[in-house]
C-alpha cells in the first residue's frame, strides 16, 4: 500500500460541487502535478461533510485542518505554503463560531502589560490561601528564612533597585537597612493602604484581589529588619479590602506562615489591621503613624525619620501596598530578574489606574520607562469620540500635567519630575480638548484645602489664598498680577510647609501654569473659558473654611 505524507479530503457533496468544488479540485490536481507532489499527497473525494454553507471545503490530514469557501485560485497558495512549506494558510481556514478569539494575553489592553504586582489578581480566589501557595505564594518568605541572615534579604532588596511605589520613589532597600541598623528590640513594619489620591485605586485592587502578597511582603520586611509586629493601615472607605485582608490574615495564621514560629522557624511576626476614618492627610507617613497611635492625623517634623523613630517612637519601616507586593517576587525570582524589567535606575513595573477621557479605563501594570503614548493609545485604546488628547494628570493632588507635546515622555521618576509633575501613587487621569486646565487645577487645590490637617500656617492659610484667586479667575474676576501672585504663593508654600501634603499642594497649579498659561490668560484678559467649563459670570464662591482648623485652634 502506498504511504502518502498528506491526505486531502475534498467534499464532493452536492452543494460543494455546485459551489465550484470540482473546479477547485481540478485546480489542486494541476498544482500538485506542477510541483511534483502527486506521489506525496493523496486527494480523496468524500461524501458531504455536513457543513454545506462552508463549502467548497477540504480537510487536510494529519493535522485535521479545515479549509472553507475554497476557490480554484486558492489551490496555488495552499500547495505552495501548506503542502510544500508546511505553513497552513490561516486566512482560508475555518474559524470557530464567528471569529477567532484572542487569548487573554493578546487582548491589546493586556498585551503591553507586565504583571508582577498584579500577577494573581483576577486569577485566584483571594479567600483561599492554597491558590496563592499554588502560584509560589510564601516561597519568598521561606527563602528569606532559609538564608538564616537578615542582611541577605536587605542586600537582595537593595540590589533589586526597588523604589517606594507610594509616590516619592525612595530606594526601599536603603530604608530597610536604616531600620535594620537601629539597635532596638522592638521594631515595626507598617503598610500604608490609605490610598487617597483621587483617581487612584491600585492598592485597593491588590488588597481585594491578592491580599497575601502584601502579607508575605510585610513578613519578609519584618524578618529583614528584626520586627515582630506589623500594621496595615487601610482607609475606612475600602470595606471589601478590609474584609478580604482580615480573612487572609486569619488563614495565614492558621497555616503557619504568619504568627508564632513561621514555617517551623524561630521567626515570629504578627499582623494587625488599623482602619482609618476619612482623612487624606493620613497617607503622609508621620500622620499615619500618629493615627495608628490613636491621635489626630497630624504630621510630625522629619528628621527623625520613621526608620529611626516611628510608631510608638520605635524604628519603623513604612511602605506602600504596591511596594510590599513587589517583595515576594524579588525574593522568589531574584533581584537580577527584577532588574531586567524597566529601565536603568527605574527597575520593575508601576501599577496605574487609567481613568478619564480614554476608551479602555482600568487598572494596568507596565514596565517603568514605557511611554505615555503607548499607555494611552496602545493599552487605553485612545481618546473616545474622536477628540484630541490634551494632557494626562499624574500624582493626583501632589502632581501635575503632562501635556500632549510631551506624550513621548518615558514614565519614570526623574522624567516626570523634570516636567513639573511626579509619579505619585499611580493615578493617571487622561484629559481631552474639552477639559479646562484651570478648572482642573482649582479642583485639585479644593481637595487639598479640605484635606489639610490645619497644623501649619503655610498650608492651612496659603492654599486657601491660592484657591481664592483661582475662584476669582474662574468666575471672570481675575486680574493682571494674579498669575504672578499664584506663582509666588506656590513657591512659599512649597518651601515652608511641614509635610508633603502642603509642600506639593501648589504643584497642579504651577504645572498647569507652566504648560497652559494661555488658558489662564484668556480667563483673565478675555474673561473667557475656551472649553466652556467655567461659569465666567457666576458670583465668586467663598473658599470653604477648613473644618479642622475650627476645632484645633
Amino acid at each position: 500500500m502506498k504511504i502518502y505524507r498528506i491526505h486531502a479530503l475534498i467534499c464532493a457533496g452536492g452543494q460543494c460541487i455546485s459551489a465550484g468544488g470540482d473546479s477547485f479540485e481540478s485546480s489542486l490536481k494541476k498544482e500538485l502535478q506542477a510541483t511534483d507532489l502527486t506521489e506525496e499527497i493523496q486527494i480523496v473525494e468524500t461524501g458531504c461533510m455536513g457543513s454545506c454553507e462552508m463549502g467548497p471545503m477540504m480537510v487536510v490530514y494529519p493535522e485535521g485542518i479545515v479549509y472553507v469557501h475554497l476557490k480554484p485560485e486558492d489551490a496555488e497558495i495552499i500547495t505552495k505554503e501548506h503542502f510544500l512549506k508546511g505553513r497552513p494558510v490561516e486566512r482560508l481556514m475555518w474559524r470557530k463560531e464567528e471569529g477567532t478569539f484572542p487569548r487573554l494575553e493578546e487582548v491589546p489592553f493586556f498585551a503591553h502589560q507586565t504583571k508582577l504586582v498584579l500577577r494573581n489578581c483576577g486569577l485566584i480566589n483571594p479567600e483561599n490561601i492554597e491558590e496563592y501557595i499554588a502560584r509560589d505564594g510564601y516561597q519568598g518568605l521561606a527563602k528569606a528564612i532559609a538564608g538564616n541572615d537578615p542582611k541577605l534579604v536587605i542586600e537582595e532588596i537593595k540590589k533589586s533597585g526597588l523604589r517606594g511605589r507610594g509616590g516619592a520613589g525612595f530606594p526601599t532597600g536603603r530604608k530597610w537597612e536604616a531600620a535594620y541598623l537601629q539597635n532596638n528590640d522592638i521594631k515595626y513594619v507598617v503598610c500604608n493602604a490609605d490610598e487617597g489620591d483621587p483617581g487612584a485605586y491600585m492598592d485597593r485592587s491588590v488588597l481585594e484581589g491578592d491580599p497575601h502578597t502584601v502579607i508575605e511582603g510585610m513578613a519578609i520586611a519584618g524578618y529583614a529588619i528584626g520586627a515582630q509586629k506589623g500594621y496595615v493601615y487601610v482607609r475606612a472607605e475600602y470595606p471589601l479590602a478590609i474584609k478580604r485582608l482580615t480573612h487572609a490574615i486569619k488563614q495565614a495564621k492558621q497555616s503557619g506562615v504568619l504568627g508564632q514560629n513561621i514555617l517551623g522557624s524561630d521567626f515570629s511576626f504578627d499582623l494587625e489591621i488599623r482602619v482609618g476614618a476619612g482623612a487624606f492627610v493620613c497617607g503622609e507617613e508621620t500622620a499615619l503613624l500618629n493615627s495608628i497611635e490613636g491621635n489626630r492625623g497630624e504630621p510630625k517634623k522629619k528628621p527623625p525619620f520613621p526608620a529611626e523613630k516611628g510608631l510608638f517612637n520605635k524604628p519603623t519601616v513604612i511602605n506602600n501596598v504596591e511596594t510590599f507586593a513587589n517583595v515576594p517576587v524579588i525574593m522568589t525570582k531574584g533581584a537580577d530578574f527584577f532588574q531586567t524589567i524597566g529601565v536603568p535606575n527605574n527597575p520593575g513595573t508601576k501599577v496605574f489606574s487609567l481613568a478619564g477621557k480614554v476608551t479602555t479605563t482600568g487598572l494596568i501594570e507596565v514596565p517603568l520607562g514605557i511611554s505615555l503614548r503607548k499607555i494611552i493609545f496602545d493599552i487605553g485604546g485612545g481618546i473616545p469620540n474622536n477628540k484630541q488628547f490634551k494632557g494626562a494628570l499624574t500624582g493626583g493632588p501632589s502632581g501635575g500635567v503632562i501635556p500632549a507635546s510631551q506624550i513621548d515622555t518615558p514614565i519614570d521618576y526623574e522624567s516626570l519630575a523634570s516636567l513639573g509633575s511626579m509619579m505619585g501613587s499611580g493615578g493617571l487621569i487622561v484629559m481631552d480638548e474639552d477639559s479646562c486646565m484651570v478648572d482642573i487645577a482649582k479642583f485639585f487645590l479644593k481637595f487639598t484645602v479640605e484635606e489639610s490637617c490645619g497644623k501649619c500656617t503655610p498650608c492651612r492659610e496659603g492654599t486657601r489664598q491660592m484657591l481664592a484667586i483661582l475662584e476669582k479667575i474662574t468666575s471672570g474676576q481675575g486680574k493682571e498680577g494674579d498669575l504672578e501672585h499664584l506663582e509666588e504663593l506656590g513657591k512659599i508654600i512649597k518651601q515652608t510647609s511641614l509635610c508633603n501634603l502642603g509642600q506639593s499642594a501648589p504643584n497642579p497649579v504651577l504645572s498647569t501654569l507652566r504648560w497652559f498659561r494661555n488658558e489662564y490668560e484668556s480667563h483673565i484678559r478675555d474673561k473667557k473659558c475656551v472649553c466652556n467649563v467655567c461659569n465666567m459670570t457666576s458670583p465668586v464662591k467663598e473658599a470653604k473654611k477648613n473644618v479642622r482648623q475650627k476645632i484645633a485652634h
Binding site: E131, I133, A134, G209, T360
Partner: protein, 124 residues
C-alpha cells in the same frame, strides 16, 4: 487548613495545590470564576452572580464550581465572568443578569459559547 511546619511542607503543598487548581474539584465539570472587586460590584456583579446561581438551580445543574475572585483590571468590561469548560477558559465581559442566565443555559450546561460576548479564550 493544617499548619505548615517547614519549608519542605510548603513546597509539597504548592505542588499539590497547583494540580488541584487545574483539575476540577469532585463532581464539577465546569468552573465559573466571577470577578468580585469593588468595580465589578459597583457595576452589578452581585446581581449577576445571583442570576447564575438561580439559573443553575432552576435547571438542576450541579456539576459546577463557582469561585469569587478579584478583578483583572479591565474595568471597562466589568462585570466579568470566566467559564472554564472542556479545556478552555472563556472570558465574558459586560455581563448583566439576563446575559448570565443565557451563558448558563448555553455555555455552562451545553458547551456552546456565545461569541458576541466573548473578550478572550485561552486553552487551559
Amino acid at each position: 487548613m493544617a499548619k505548615i511546619n517547614s519549608l519542605e511542607e510548603l513546597r509539597k503543598l504548592r505542588d499539590q495545590a497547583k494540580e488541584s487548581m487545574t483539575a476540577r474539584s469532585g463532581e464539577a465539570k465546569v468552573r465559573i470564576r466571577a470577578s468580585m472587586g469593588t468595580v465589578g460590584i459597583a457595576g452589578g456583579a452581585r446581581e449577576v452572580l445571583k442570576a447564575i446561581i438561580d439559573e443553575l438551580e432552576k435547571r438542576n445543574f450541579h456539576e459546577v464550581e463557582i469561585i469569587e475572585g478579584g478583578s483583572m483590571g479591565l474595568d471597562k468590561e466589568e462585570p466579568v465572568i470566566v467559564v472554564e469548560r472542556d479545556g478552555f477558559q472563556t472570558t465574558y465581559g459586560k455581563v448583566q443578569p439576563e446575559m448570565a442566565r443565557q451563558i448558563v443555559a448555553q455555555h455552562v450546561i451545553n458547551g456552546q459559547i456565545i461569541s458576541e460576548w466573548v473578550i478572550a479564550r485561552n486553552k487551559q
